[in-house]
């Protein structure tokens, strides 16, 4: 049986295939919440902006399904604009009947009724709930009259306002989601929809709107209206992580019975740039062709075929055609994209236009359309590639066959060969990116901690821990006396990378503060070289890295004029040759290997956890009531307080106070076992000592129980005075068995730390 909460209504992906978008979905739903919180507030418009194929449409479809399945106080409406229905009347009829059928289906909790959208309005109307019947009829009558009077603009306005009107009558909120909104540009709908964004039907307390489409034209749709901007909430849809796309690819492959391997799945996510559409197309093509994707060559064959003649190719054909309708424009577009892909860097717009072989004004207009569809990037007079690697392959192959004149099969073979050669490198770059992101994440955790110095001195680390188990290394690190005090890093900047045979590197600049004081004098720059080499880094390669590193340090330190110093940290996968290590040691540079990053991460995690779990650090002690047993308690407290990093003065005060507490407990104990119970709890910022006795109340001297003539009222009063003076908080508590004294001492760390 299908779980109602998982019913797929408009979603294209299966349950579980769509994930990692909860915060964006919450942001969309927040539009409804905010609208319903305050009926006097203006309607909110959510703009979902993101790269093409990042999943914006699917996200809205998923929102629709969730609200529909929830069948609560918010009715979902979804409309995807279509190129074939952009004339005002056609749009209005299509949109109105879609919204009407969705509302009737929602009220009936029957998704199948949505399919009635292409039926006459009277047929859809018949399915409405009895309580909605008359209100729905009123809206239909208004729309029909506008159509009869041949008022397309009125029809558009009524279509757009229909969700709010339906919701109003049913005492619901409405979330109206519209996709492909960029299509209205240049049509009659442009002014109709843009105009009504600010006033009119789209301004209803019951309805909120979520619009998406191609982000560049979408932004241009918003009129320069300050009041309108205050009602717009931009919801950025970022590219998903590798792991999410890989999970999706695995699930889809499994569902369609396509065999894969971990390495091809990883390669797919890299080569397809984590794109859901491309990944689906590849899996679907493999499924329909009955081939597996267990090896790189199997994947690359399917990929090449898809790019040249499959769904991916058709999609990119269509994308290009939308921007370049005329055949000569298509060729010009291919020339332009091929040129900038080949250049690998921004190319002046004039130079690209000249290469396109069409008049300059037409070339610039075409480039603008390509930019709108994110097939290229045009910024400040320069043209750059879009960053879509699949588009790049597609253009290269088409350019070869259609412009350079290579027969199509040969162009395909060339692409296949290139992709196979590139696959290993791609996987290596994935590995490098993993390490880079680990380093950046690690730097963001630098927060004035004191860490073992050997993690920044590979030679010292080797001396101490060569051949030692990981557990012993961890113990050794805990015991190390030499420490490096980390700064607090506030900003990490990527300084770029470089490579030579056998070695590649990436440089980072991390800015922060030392010593926990935010002054210019404490500003520090950590410059980090992350080096991936097959052998220990030799001195020649080090020299090349330094050539790139030094200007960065000089520019950062010199430019600020206040930055007092820079720290160099070299992290090499395979360590350093003896000469390179010596040279770095002489330059007082930190030297680590990749494994040290893991250990450092592990160490910082343990530090953070030890802080977080401090309340659980409790010790218990039971001492007999006999001469000088309180000294045992004092010694125990000393050890605990020292471990918790209390200074000596505080330790002495704790010991003295505890001795007084024990004497007090002994004096008032009626316990047959003649014992004093103590508990020591180390919290984040304090030590709490609880001393319990089974007898009378602390501090209330009772002559009959006094074990000694000396434990007079005066000396007890003095004892309590001592406790109160030496501890920060003192409380007496009654318990079922007697009483307890709870003493708290807060950390007062030595000032030199």
């Amino acid at each position: 049986m299908t779980d109602l909460n998982q019913r797929r209504i408009l979603s294209r992906l299966f349950y579980g295939e769509f994930s990692d978008r909860e915060s964006e979905i919450e942001a969309v739903f927040d539009l409804i919440v905010r609208a319903s919180d305050d009926f006097d507030s203006p309607t909110l418009i959510g703009l979902l902006l993101g790269l093409p194929r990042v999943g914006k449409s699917e996200l809205l479809r998923n929102c629709f399904d969730r609200l529909f399945n929830e069948n609560g106080g918010a009715a979902p409406f979804f409309y995807a604009l279509r190129r074939s229905r952009l004339a005002s009347e056609e749009f209005a009829r299509d949109c109105f009947s879609q919204f009407l059928s969705q509302f009737v289906a929602f009220r009936r909790n029957d998704p199948q009724l949505i399919e009635a959208a292409d039926q006459p309005l009277s047929i859809i109307h018949r399915a409405a709930l009895p309580e909605d019947y008359s209100s729905v009829k009123q809206v239909i009558d208004s729309f029909t009259k506008a159509a009869e009077d041949n008022k397309p603009a009125m029809m558009v306005r009524l279509a757009l306002s229909a969700p709010a009107l339906f919701a109003e009558h049913a005492q619901l909120n409405a979330l109206v989601m519209m996709d492909n909104c960029e299509l209205i540009i240049g049509t009659d709908l442009d002014s109709a929809i843009s105009g009504t964004l600010g006033s009119g039907p789209m301004r209803s307390p019951r309805a909120s709107y979520a619009l998406t489409g191609l982000r560049r034209p979408l932004i241009k749709l918003i009129p320069p209206d300050q009041e309108l901007f205050s009602r717009i909430k931009v919801i950025n849809i970022e590219r998903t992580k590798d792991a999410v796309v890989e999970k999706f690819t695995r699930m889809r492959a499994e569902r369609l019975g396509v065999e894969t391997s971990d390495s091809t799945i990883e390669l797919m996510s890299q080569q397809l740039d984590c794109d859901f559409f491309y990944a689906s197309a590849i899996i679907d093509a493999a499924a329909s062709g009955g081939v597996s994707l267990k090896t790189f060559i199997e994947f690359e064959r399917v990929y090449t075929a898809e790019v040249l003649t499959g769904r991916i190719g058709h999609y990119l054909d269509a994308s290009l055609r939308e921007a370049a309708v005329l055949p000569r424009d298509g060729r010009a577009a291919l020339e332009a994209i091929a040129l900038i892909n080949e250049a690998g860097c921004p190319v002046p717009l004039d130079a690209v236009a000249e290469r396109m072989g069409i008049p300059a004004d037409q070339a610039e207009a075409l480039l603008d359309r390509l930019h709108s569809r994110e097939l290229i990037d045009v910024n400040y007079g320069f043209v750059s590639p879009s960053g879509d690697p699949v588009l790049s392959d597609y253009v290269r192959a088409r350019h070869r066959s259609e412009i350079a004149g290579a027969p199509r099969p040969i162009a395909g073979q060339e692409l296949l060969g290139e992709k196979l050669k590139h696959s290993y490198r791609l996987m290596m770059s994935r590995f490098n990116r993993g390490i880079e992101s680990q380093l950046v994440q690690l730097l963001s955790r630098f927060d004035f901690q004191s860490v073992p110095a050997s993690l920044f001195d590979q030679d010292e680390y080797e001396k101490r821990y060569r051949g030692v188990s990981r557990v012993q290394v961890r113990r050794g690190l805990d015991d190390e006396k030499d420490r490096v005090r980390l700064p607090q890093i506030v900003f990490v900047h990527d300084l770029g990378g470089g490579e030579q045979p056998g070695v590649n590197w990436r440089l980072f600049a991390a800015s922060g503060f030392e010593g926990g004081i935010y002054t210019e004098a404490n500003e520090v720059l950590w410059v980090i070289a992350l080096i991936n080499s097959k052998e220990p880094l030799d001195v020649e390669s080090l020299g090349r890295i330094d050539q790139r590193l030094e200007p960065s340090i000089r520019s950062k330190v010199g430019k600020s004029g206040v930055l007092s110093h820079a720290v160099r940290w070299y992290v090499s996968k395979e360590g350093f040759s003896a000469i390179a290590a010596e040279r770095l040691a002489n330059a007082h540079a930190y030297r680590s290997s990749y494994s040290h990053l893991d250990l450092l991460q592990d160490y910082l995690t343990r530090l953070a956890l030890s802080g977080a779990t401090r309340p659980a650090s409790e010790f218990e002690l039971v001492i007999p009531i006999e001469d000088e047993a309180e000294l045992i308690a004092a010694r125990t407290a000393e050890q605990i307080a020292r471990a918790a990093d209390f200074d000596q003065e505080s330790i002495n005060q704790i010991k003295t106070a505890l001795i007084e507490a024990c004497i007090n407990a002994a004096e008032h104990s009626d316990s047959p076992d003649r014992k004093i119970h103590q508990r020591f709890a180390i919290d984040e910022d304090k030590l709490i000592i609880t001393v319990s006795n089974r007898g009378k109340i602390f501090g209330k001297a009772n002559g009959q129980s006094a074990p000694s003539v000396r434990s007079s009222k005066n000396s007890r009063g003095r004892g309590l005075r001592i406790i109160r003076a030496l501890m920060d908080q003192v409380e007496f508590e009654r318990t079922d068995e007697g009483a307890r004294l709870v003493m708290t001492k807060y950390f007062k760390r030595p000032s030199n730390q």
Binding site: I659, S708, S712
Partner: protein
Amino acid sequence: MSAAEIKTRLTEGAAVIYPGAYLNQLRGERIESVCQEFLDRGIRRIVVNFQETELINSIGISILLGVIESVNNARGALVLSNLNDSNRELFEMLGLGSHVEMAATEELALLSLSEETVGSAT
């Protein structure tokens, strides 16, 4: 030497008492007894050297106050020396500073006593 036994020494007509690591009731009473013996023998200049004393409890302090009172009553003089910061702070907090002189070292304490005029035994 038992746990409660304390060291003493005589020098230039003065007695120096060493309470040991922990001044509690036991050692306080021992000091009280030893001090009385010195007074009985006509030795009225007394130094209590806390060099080795790590901890002092309130009962020990009470007894010490009694000792100070006894010496004063006998027209003698008592000086505390070599107190660590914590113990000095404790004494000052309890107002002992107004009852008894404190010297940084045993030598300074003895020097201070040598300048002090003490009453003769009657």
